[in-house]
């Protein structure tokens, strides 16, 4: 199954939004209104669909701010430090995320795609 299609299908089912357009740039929390229990269901669904282990903290960037603070304390460059913690995301994307944080949770559909892709490649 195509990764994007699989994620779209899971989101539509869990959030009950079959009629809404979902693109790789759609924000999961900010636009689709996913709550923590929805994210949990999404993790379970992706785990089953793609047969991958899903770490909720990592895929949903739950520990992003925690790691940012830790990196800051160690005097490290933010995107470089985060790259070690979120290996599925490219450095440019992490920079985007950091710049976007003020406006709310920055998680997008494409971040899930990257996560699933890396998991499938390293399985």
């Amino acid at each position: 199954m195509d990764i994007f299609d699989g994620i779209k299908e899971a989101l539509a089912e869990i959030l009950d939004i079959e009629d809404r357009e979902i693109t790789p740039d759609t924000y999961i929390i900010r636009e689709l209104g996913a709550e923590s229990i929805d994210l949990l269901e999404l993790a379970v669904s992706l785990n089953a669909k793609f047969e991958i282990d899903v770490n909720d903290d990592e895929i949903f960037l739950k520990t992003l701010r925690l790691h940012m603070d830790a990196g800051l304390k160690q005097g490290k460059e933010a995107a470089g430090y985060l790259k070690e913690k979120f290996p599925s995301l490219k450095k440019d994307r992490l920079k985007e995320i950091i710049a976007d944080l003020e406006a709310g949770p920055a998680l997008k559909v494409k971040d899930l795609i990257s996560y699933v892709r890396l998991k499938l490649e390293t399985r």
Binding site: I37, L40, E41, V44
Partner: protein
Amino acid sequence: MHLKFSGNRALILGGNSELGICLAKYLINAAIFPILTYRNETGHRHILDRLHSVEGKYSSFHLDFDAPASLDSLFRRIGDNLDFLVDFAHANYESLVASADEERLSRYFAENISFRAAVLKRAARAMLRNKRGRLVFISSSAAKRPNPGQGFYAAAKLASEALYKNLGLELGERGITTVTLRPGYIDAGRGRAFIQSKGEDALKKVPTKKALTKEEVAETILFYLSDSAGGANATEISMDGGLTAGK
């Protein structure tokens, strides 16, 4: 009353206990397939011997709260095929708080709280796929009224109760609910040994002056697993003959 059940597969943690085996027989009668966990070969043999007559109607699996790898293999085997969980697993650790061995108490909490949380996480995720699940945790009247020496046991029970409570709170809307039962003295396993060692004094504080039989406990659990008990979620229920009601 005829009990109805939403599901047909139950995981029994601590399945090699007398209570676990007794419950397994009731479940089989109710057309529910029990999967009993054991932590060592003695426990395994015990299950095989006691459930000899119902071979093929249950399965057993190694799960050691001190061996995290056994969790992976258990849930690989279960997949998302899990409707019920009954949790009897709990090691005993008797010590006055002020005389506890520090390394041992850390290990005790790791096994009886952290590992249980990991089991619950896996079970809940398996149940989430089917949007239904019922979990019953067997706590103890010691959670409310511990004797001296039961501090660690009570602390681990209370922490575990909190995990079950929150699971029911968080996933109730997704069809996953929990109940904690707090039995008092039971005429089985550790309880029987205690009652025998104390003689008549053991039941002096129990208003009914009786210990629970394992059948009574199993039947109560069966009721709480059934659809009839659906209203009970994220809560603790005492079944101790009134032991913890008075002072």
